[in-house]
């Protein structure tokens, strides 16, 4: 597993504290979307289709820090839109680091090399670079030529300067497992800390509606892709979540695990669905009808979802929630390394 011990310890401590306090619903990762504007228009993205006045809007530094304080999650994933388009992104990052948060700054890396000077390497900061596969697949996915090469150059520059770098790969129908395995080799050879993988969510607002993976397709794809993993591969994810993707384990969604905050407020119920907004984090947690979401609910919009923002929290809660969970996680880690 590619997650540093300090981060794992912080997450484990957070889970224990919540359990001791008797809380059954608590956040693990704040999904912070400081803006919706993006410098790409990816085929599978349903996040950025808004009128221009809303795309020009962004959260202030104070808004972002307040959201993090309200939520209390030890990890903050800064998504969007493209966060590096935010004029004060470095101030947001510094403020969050100052609060002891572990940050994944999700970026397509088009501006990363130019913006590196605005950041300092820090164990609490990781650039999570969007890479949807080998050059041809990635450029097709982001609908622009040359993006793979620019992202690779930015990853090299960031690694060279001592930053933590991970990759974030979303997979769609048609992904070739063998080519993906070579892609994992290529990414690890760049010196990154680890990789994150997930099937794409079938956003109804995304331009391409024909290539989202159904649940069984996801199982087949991930089983072939992750069978006999190479020793050098490191995943910045729970090994139990990877087993879930391969169909070896069944989880239900923990939609409150990765609460989302953006210009509209606290998004109900999760990062992917937009059933309205709460004004405060407490209102989100207390007034959302959570039983309407997840596989068990029968909600058709949740039926094929296997995205990490809902199931990784389940995996983490399983890992740190009991001795048995810890044992299973340790076993999965050993199997992963064979």
């Amino acid at each position: 597993m590619g997650i540093p011990w300090s981060q794992m310890f912080a997450v484990a401590r957070h889970v224990m504290k919540q359990r001791i306090a008797g809380r059954t619903r608590y956040p693990l990762v704040l999904m912070l979307e400081p803006l919706f504007r993006c410098n790409l228009a990816c085929t599978g993205c349903g996040k950025i289709q808004y009128p221009t006045a809303l795309l020009k809007k962004h959260l202030s530094v104070e808004d972002c820090l307040m959201a993090s304080d309200e939520c209390g999650a030890p990890v903050v994933s800064i998504a969007g839109g493209e966060p590096l388009l935010h004029p004060q992104i470095s101030e947001i990052v510094r403020g969050l680091i100052g609060r002891g948060r572990f940050i994944y700054l999700c970026t397509n890396a088009l501006l990363l090399e130019d913006k590196l000077d605005q950041f300092e390497p820090d164990p609490h900061l990781s650039f999570s670079v969007h890479m949807d596969g080998p050059r041809t697949e990635h450029d097709a996915s982001v609908c622009r030529a040359g993006v793979y090469d620019k992202a690779v150059a930015a990853i090299r520059a960031a690694v060279h300067r001592g930053f933590r770098v991970t990759t974030n790969t979303t997979l769609f129908d048609g992904a070739n497992p063998d080519r993906m395995r070579r892609f994992f080799d290529d990414m690890m050879a760049l010196g990154i800390e680890g990789m994150m993988i997930s099937p794409g969510y079938s956003y109804r607002k995304a331009p391409d509606q024909d290539h989202f993976l159904r649940r069984e397709q996801s199982h087949r794809l991930f089983s072939r892709m992750l069978a006999a993993p190479a020793r050098r591969w490191r995943f910045n994810q729970s090994p139990l979540f990877l087993q879930f993707l391969m169909g070896k384990r069944d989880f239900d969604c923990t939609p409150w695990g990765n609460p989302t905050y953006n210009i509209f407020g606290w998004q109900r119920p999760c990062y992917l669905l937009q059933d309205g907004y709460a004004r405060t984090f407490r209102e989100l947690m207390e007034q959302t009808e959570w039983s309407r979401y997840g596989h068990a609910s029968g909600n058709p919009r949740c039926r094929d979802c296997m995205v990490h923002c809902g199931f990784e929290p389940t995996a983490i809660n399983t890992s740190f929630g009991s001795l048995r969970g810890m044992g299973e996680t340790a076993l999965a880690l050993v199997k992963e390394r064979r």
Binding site: R37, C38, N39, L40, A41, T43, G46, Q49, Y50, P51, A53, L54, K56, K57, E82, L85, P87, L110, L111, E113, D114, L116, D117, D139, A140, C143, R144, A145, G146, V147, K150, A157, H160, R161, R204, K205, P207, D208, Q209, F264, G265, Q274, G276, Y277
Partner: protein, 349 residues
Amino acid sequence: MIDALLDRAFDYRGYVTLSQRDGGRLVGFIYDRGPAHVELFDEAARRRIRLPVDQITGVEFTGEDSAARAQQIWERRKGALEPADTAAWGDWSEPGPRDRRGRRGPRARRPVLILVALPAELRSVAGALGARRGGGGARGRLGAVRAVALAVGVGGGAARAVAAERPGLVISCGFAGALDPALVPGDLVLASSVRDEAGESIAASEPVLGAARRVLDSGDPACLAEGELLCTTEVAATAEAKRALIRPGRLAVDLESGPAAHAARRAGVAWLALRVVLDPLDADLPAFALAARASYVVPALRHALRGPRAAAELAELARRARTASRSLSRALGRLAPVVGGLADAEPAS
């Protein structure tokens, strides 16, 4: 009926116009829908409005559906990709610098591009930018402005660099040979014009020169001279070769400033040539220094092994190079406060 329309409006990625019971009409983007209310942003996305459902009598879909438009564009393109040279900022311009009231200017602030020929020169520049070198370049800040320093070698690398970086100002930096007997190692030469071997001369922009002159010509042990810079295609390595190039008003000779000035002029960008004297008029350069190399360590050692005279010659060259590097680094530091203004200056006609 209204409930169904509001459900649709909540799912709609565009503006809707709501008719209200009191006869008013409200245009906005609905982002929240409760059992008894809707919440929307006004058209300018500045004001949040919460409206009771029982106050709404009609819903019109008056704005374009952004999601439908994205799907149509994607279908029209049929898999064709945007070209690789599409702006990295996409449809969004880079915000300009803030003014005293914290407002951002409308223009994107382009970087300063500092062109040097040799890795040895890049070291001095990278030091001034507070940046690490890597991949033949260094990226950092000069004052409040983003700066990119590239070692482009001798010849045509300047044009490629200007096209790739789209700078607001090009600075040609590095070592030069003195053609004025008064100039000593470490002295700075600010080019009022650059002339090539064919006799073509490009004048520097007066506002750029003036601003640079004001900050460089103060409080420094190194002398600042302003005049013509000759750009040749081969190193003038001996005192005799340099003397043959002397003309009235001509201060120094280098290999790089001409291509840099040409590239900047073609791109419509202001430029500045700031050179530092490495070898005075009466000094010869050792033969190994004539060719551009990534590293001079091995050839220099070979040269030193020729005998005591060669070793002394090498030590003297190393001393001059250190003096010149320090002087160049200091000069860039002094340019830092004004370089933001220079980056928006008009190039000379």
